[in-house]
């Protein structure tokens, strides 16, 4: 069984970005996010699904053949699938890694669902949401002060 799993392993990359520890089934969601960004259209991407993980039981994995993943894309991923690990690979080794969580302040990335919120009628005003709990699963609109579950808000790409 182990041997079979090894056969299926994604080959190591010399230089790139690995998004690891994605809860099984969430990988395609991250892929959807990545494809929304114009600059990611030509990047070679490998998607691995349902790999055995010590930490998660099963996990998904994404490898990107690129040197640098823009912070706004990482932030976008952290909002939709919090807790994944983003690793930078150099010379086949992990050069740096970081576990990404949604930031305590999310600027210009989420749309306020309150139709009466001023951010929806004054187009030039950006949006700002702040954490409403420790896990940042709930966020508060800085302007209208309504509290939302993070996953009910739509992400807009500037």
């Amino acid at each position: 069984m182990n041997n079979n799993n090894e056969v299926l392993l994604i080959p190591k990359i010399e230089l790139g970005i690995v998004i690891d520890h994605i809860p099984a089934g969430q990988g395609p969601k991250i892929l959807d996010i990545i494809y929304q960004y114009e600059e990611m259209k030509d990047v070679a991407i490998t998607l691995g699904l349902n790999y055995i993980s010590k930490k998660l039981g099963k996990k998904d994995l994404i490898k990107l053949q690129m040197e640098y993943l823009a912070p706004e894309i990482i932030q976008h991923i952290s909002i939709v699938v919090p807790g994944v690990t983003v690793k930078a690979i150099k010379n086949y080794n992990v050069h740096s890694k970081v576990v990404v969580h949604p930031p305590k302040e999310i600027k210009n990335l989420l749309e306020c669902k309150n139709p009466n919120c001023i951010t929806n009628s004054e187009g030039h005003v950006g949006t700002l949401f702040t954490a409403a709990d420790d896990e940042i699963r709930r966020v508060k609109c800085y302007y209208c002060e309504r509290i939302f579950d993070l996953d009910e808000l739509d992400v807009v790409i500037p």
Binding site: N116, C117, I118, E122, Y143, C144, E145, R146
Partner: protein, 248 residues
């Protein structure tokens, strides 16, 4: 640095107490002293939706402090009706005044104005977000000190309470008027219901009332809602002084 008053959530209990302490000082002062505080200072009231007592109480407060007032009382009288943005209106009016008092149906407007303007901004209601600001101020003595209990037995509650805070069922916030008609007269306070109330108990109400307090309550010693309106002017004076940098 300019100081805005946008949301109850920005205030600590101590800050609320400071406003109330200042209000008590203002109340103790004769009017001839009060008018000397703000001569030459201008308050702009930007009311993008109608309101009687909020606008008039701010204007009365400013006049009593010796300042002057400019402003508008409805959106149709402004360039917003010609398509001007809220932000541009703020950037224009800030050149005419020293402090802005804003009422707007959109939620978050006062916060936006505070961010855009170099003047102190007082939130006089942004949609259904911070309308309650004024109510807290008019009637809260020591927030956190009192206990709250929910009940549907008003007669029993009246016997035990010190303050009976009534409020109107807000017709304008019902999307479906049929729903409003179903609940509109679901509670009405009458003078006879207050016969077992504590001697010092007061009935408060942010006003306007519709049917929820019968007129015979006005004649009882428990009616506190009109004095409450007077307190609304005094607390606004304390707020104007603080936000225009006057030390009491």
């Amino acid at each position: 640095m300019k100081k805005d008053l946008i949301s109850m959530e920005d205030l600590s209990v101590q800050e609320i107490k400071n406003y109330l302490t200042a209000a008590a000082k203002v109340e103790a002062m004769p009017l001839r002293e009060r008018v000397q505080f703000l001569p030459g200072r201008i308050m702009a009231t930007l009311f993008f939706e109608p309101s009687t007592r909020t606008r008039l109480s701010f204007e009365s407060a400013m006049h009593q402090l010796g300042g002057s007032v400019i402003g508008f009382a409805e959106q149709s009288a402004t360039s917003v009706s010609k398509g001007e943005s809220f932000t541009d209106t703020i950037h224009t009016v800030e050149n005419y005044s020293d402090i802005l008092v804003i009422r707007h149906p959109g939620e978050g407007t006062a916060r936006l104005a505070a961010q855009e303007s170099h003047l102190p901004i007082l939130n006089a209601g942004d949609g259904s977000n911070q309308l309650r600001l004024q109510k807290y101020f008019m009637s809260t003595d020591e927030p956190g000190k009192y206990q709250f209990k929910q009940t549907d037995d008003i007669e029993e509650a009246i016997k035990n309470c010190d303050v009976l805070y009534m409020t109107r069922i807000q017709r304008e916030r019902f999307p479906d008027l049929v729903e409003y008609e179903k609940v509109k007269d679901s509670y009405v306070l009458t003078a006879s219901m207050l016969k077992d109330a504590k001697e010092h108990a007061r009935v408060l109400h942010p006003l306007p009332r519709v049917n929820e307090i019968a007129y015979d309550v006005d004649k009882t010693k428990h009616a506190g809602y009109f004095p409450q309106m007077k307190n609304g002017v005094i607390i606004r004076q304390a707020i104007l002084l603080k936000h225009l940098g006057v030390q009491l």
